[in-house]
Symmetry: C2
Subunit: 249 residues, 2 copies
């Protein structure tokens, strides 16, 4: 059996998230249907992780096992010819036999985009959070520094998060002004449910002056979701890149 | 009566064009409904010109007469609070009593965006034409020069165009490589039905080597739509700006 790795981009607006659910349009089920159309095989794919309803991806990674003999350099065009327009394959590679898109991922980069304009940018509205307030970028950068390193992120994940161990490591948070958009890059070794969206919501509260950047250590220490800021909306969030050990790149 | 001028942006994807049509969602009818919600007045607005189904705008201009006393600096926020998300007011001004968005327009700039990537950019797909071929930009620029100046554009408009006089003046066509997008700016004093889309379709045929740039004068002279290139799809076209004499700015 071959093991094929795909790099997948999607506009999450019209999907009920990544993971298959009965009778709902999801990224996983659209990908599986496309593979079935090409190969005749009914296959289960593995993603690097779920993304919630409305969240986008530029570099989601999936893998699946197949007996199909379609040459690897034909997969990209073939898949894109049967996929809907809001789901695009950006790369296809032959992976090693035991490559696993979820277990082998060592880090991920998320991009969160904020539109701080007086009126929403009509062409970007599906992919940004419109925040029509003056944001103190320097304060947001100061707050971001408190999040880097290894922390228990209990205060910064959905209160219903099922996992026990809520310690994660954030390698870097970068706050960039890019044209008329504020881009927040979050790079870390793993992420809890809603974690990026709550980090960003808290940074925006800092930027608006509703939370001081100096309060972040106490909010982290409290291990209490109610102490952090709002959950930023899904529409602004994009899974940008998933990293694997070198031999899997 | 006041005369109010609005600068309007829209994502044309889900509109049946600008002009009101019974039982169809159009830009004009959505704007008129929003104005009626704010003022209680049933008003007819005037646009600088129609845009076809699927065509976008960044700087469409409309005007309308109203007895409403809403202060001019409140119109932008008020309109945007009742408009759907794919239609946004970018500016509102008190216009002179006899300002007319269509008759007073002296020039327009259209932007046509082409995505020449191997696979379509999922985040831009609603606003670009995906042309996955190598395009000879220099040839396209050479061809564009033939279009500038005053010409009879019979070969470059929809064969059903109702107007008699098909002479128009193109001030400039600029072909720009901008990141991963090819931007074609067309600036002129007036445009026939589908004119920009046929100019762009022809430029793409030149870029692909299917038409030589030297053939453009003969195609113009033929006054025959069948001699020009394809009509580029609506999705890539944006009415970028409408110009008025200085005293109306």
């Amino acid at each position: 059996m071959r093991n094929i790795k795909l790099i997948v981009a999607y506009d999450g607006t019209d999907f009920h998230g990544f993971q298959s659910q009965p009778n709902l349009r999801t990224v996983q089920s659209e990908l599986q249907q496309a593979i079935e159309r090409l190969t005749g095989e009914s296959i289960q794919i593995t993603g690097s992780g779920r993304t919630d309803a409305g969240v986008h991806a530029w570099g989601q990674v999936v893998n699946f096992h197949t007996s199909s003999r379609i040459p690897i350099d034909k997969w990209l065009i073939a898949m894109n010819s049967v996929l809907p327009q809001d789901l695009v394959i950006r790369g296809a590679e032959e992976a090693s036999r035991d490559f696993h898109a979820r277990f082998d991922a060592t880090a991920k980069t998320y991009l969160y985009q904020i539109d701080p304009g007086l009126y929403p940018d009509v062409f970007r509205r599906r992919h940004v959070w419109h925040v029509p307030y003056r944001l103190e970028i320097d304060s947001m950068r100061k707050a971001a520094v408190w999040f880097t390193g290894e922390h228990d992120f209990t205060s910064f994940c959905n209160a219903s998060t099922p996992v026990e161990d809520k310690v994660r490591q954030i390698h870097e948070i970068r706050v960039e002004e890019f044209g008329n958009v504020l881009k927040i890059w979050v790079h870390g070794n793993g992420f809890l449910w809603n974690m990026v969206r709550i980090l960003v919501g808290t940074l925006v509260d800092v930027g608006r002056g509703r939370i001081s950047s100096d309060e972040i250590p106490a909010i982290l220490a409290a291990k209490d979701r109610t102490r952090a800021g709002v959950t930023a909306p899904a529409r602004g969030l994009t899974l940008f890149e998933v990293l694997y050990p070198k031999n899997e790149l």
